[in-house]
Amino acid sequence: MSYLNVSSVCVDFLTENGSVKAVNDISFEMNKGETFGIIGESGSGKSVITQAILRLLPSNAVVSGKIFFESEDLLSIDNKKMRQIRGREISLIPQNPAGSLNPLLKNKLQVAEVFEVMGVNKKEGIKSVLGMLKNLLMKEPAHILENYPHELSGGMKQRLLAAMCLSYKPSLLVADEPTKGLDSFSKKGTLDLFRHMKREHGNSMLVITHDLDFALEICDRVAVMYAGQIVEIGAVTNVLKNPSHPYTKALLNALPRNGLIPLNGHTPSRINLPEGCLFYTRCNLRSDKCGSERPVTKSNKGVIVRCHLY
């Protein structure tokens, strides 16, 4: 029984214009201690997965499938149990650190409050956070806790969040778009942060990102998502060094160093999906079959890929 097992999960959002298929029959496994990445464009539904795992989805979301976390089905346990898992077992380093800290409360309070519910002695908790902050390469952490969020830089906020999450000693760390909207310099900082976390703490990490280089740097295995589906899963080197799926290829070609070849067309409407391959309209290797029949995932040279080519 693997550590985190996501099997055939679907997430639909009911909007006034109809139900939107955000995540479409996704399955993957993740082993203890490994760093697993999910990559894809924004809107591919990758962040929805993290929210599905932590059950943070809004009321208009319909989730089906199973998510096993150490033999617990996260989708079926009651709220109280879930609350105990959140933060302690699985904790989330949210995307947009700026928005994830309550602007009106001192950082200290926001850090400490978790310890209250966790029943950990506040002082202890704070101390551990301070330690954490220190070895996350931050100067005078004590001072930082006395401040309000708006007095920290983006990078510091992120470190603070990371420190919080780590200090709760979770077994699984979920990082949602850690590099979203960062300039290359702070990207570097984030990268160091994550390398550091991986090296020092060795948690299992689920990293959601659209940043291939970042993934390449820190992930052991990655899944590539397109239009709510996983199109390719495999060891990061396999997937990103010699991709199988046309979409993965396209992604790589779109990188500056590969000549910045844009991917034309746009993702299909998620309200009424075409019955063929979802990438059909944009694929340059498509065949008639792709238009009519949706491909299933097949295993091929160590990677799992969802394409008729294999």
């Binding site: 933060g87 949210p94 709760y168």
Partner: protein
């Protein structure tokens, strides 16, 4: 921040002066010469026409003979340096004493209505937000629609009709006891209560959509704590900003409500004095009302600064 406070003081002063001037000259061009109206309202009764000699005597007595601007300057001088706002023609006593007599009534009324409005509005607003799109929510929103749309004086009359006339639960009008306060305070609060509730609901929903709420959940905090510690404070900011306006609305409304309930406050004093051309009283009332309004808004700003660190340090 101190600079800001200073600026506010200056502005308050300017506004007050403008109000002084405006009302003074307004009052002096109102139909019915001042001296004549004083005569009619205090000595000879409305319908009798005043003889010249009578007018002269009055004008002399209340030195109304000087040109307007002189009167104005005198009045300002006395007002600022001697705290003497002039004599009430109708009540035969210094305006200041009159104000001190009437102010408490208005303040009690305004504060109790504000209290009802804030407590009721905020709690209902939060309730509605948490029950978004449930029946309770729809019902409350429907009611608030009425709350903001009903004319205050009408509400007042209907309340009197029900609670004083039919149920005989509270006295019709008057001043002095809690029973007297209930109806006016409620009638005056309804409008603000409704709009405060609306704002609370909207901003509460907005706040609940924020990432830090989601992160708080991800941290595994129980819902009630998330609401009380994270959502509430943020949701209150917009509410605080409107409190000032609401207070203004109430001061305005009190003019009518006090008249309906014969509540001996500044509002009813103002109305009567306008009709009776009690010049100095009218000015004083308007100035007091405007002053209260400015003060309240000032306080509100300070509260806001106090609540939001981004402004405090930014």
């Amino acid at each position: 921040m101190y600079r800001y406070i200073f600026k506010r003081m200056i502005f308050t002063a300017i506004t007050l002066f403008a109000v002084f001037a405006l009302t003074f000259f307004l009052m002096n061009v109102i139909p019915g010469g001042t001296s004549e109206m004083i005569l009619k309202h205090t000595f000879i009764g409305l319908e009798e026409s005043a003889t010249q000699e009578q007018m002269v005597q009055v004008s002399a007595r209340y030195n109304l003979n000087d040109p307007l601007y002189i009167q104005f300057i005198d009045w300002l001088k006395r007002g600022i340096f001697e705290g003497d706002l002039g004599m009430s023609f109708v009540y035969h006593k210094p305006v200041l004493d009159l104000l001190l007599l009437r102010l408490p009534a208005t303040i009690i009324l305004a504060l109790s209505s504000m209290f009802i409005a804030v407590v009721g509005g905020v709690s209902l607003g939060i309730y509605a937000a948490l029950k978004e799109n449930k029946t309770a929510d729809h019902l409350l929103r429907f009611l608030t629609l009425f709350g903001v749309s009903m004319p205050g004086f009408w509400v007042a009359l209907v309340l009197i009709l029900i609670f004083s006339v039919y149920l005989k639960m509270v006295p019709v009008a008057g001043y002095g006891s809690i029973e007297n306060l209930v109806l006016p305070a409620f009638a005056l609060s309804i409008h603000s209560l409704a709009s405060i509730m609306r704002i609370t609901r909207t901003s509460m929903l907005e706040t609940l959509g924020q990432d830090y709420i989601k992160f708080a959940t991800a941290k595994g905090l129980p819902v009630n704590r998330i609401i009380s510690r994270h959502a509430l404070k943020n949701a209150m900011l917009p509410v605080v900003t409107v409190l000032g306006f609401q207070m203004g609305a109430m001061l305005g409304g009190s003019v009518i409500i006090e008249t309906v309930f014969a509540w001996p406050g500044i509002g009813s004093l103002l109305v009567n004095s306008i009709f009776a051309r009690d010049l100095y009283v009218v000015q004083a009332c308007i100035i007091v009302i405007v002053f209260l309004f400015l003060i309240v808004n000032f306080i509100v700003d300070l509260v806001y600064i106090y609540l939001d660190p981004r402004i405090r340090y930014g």
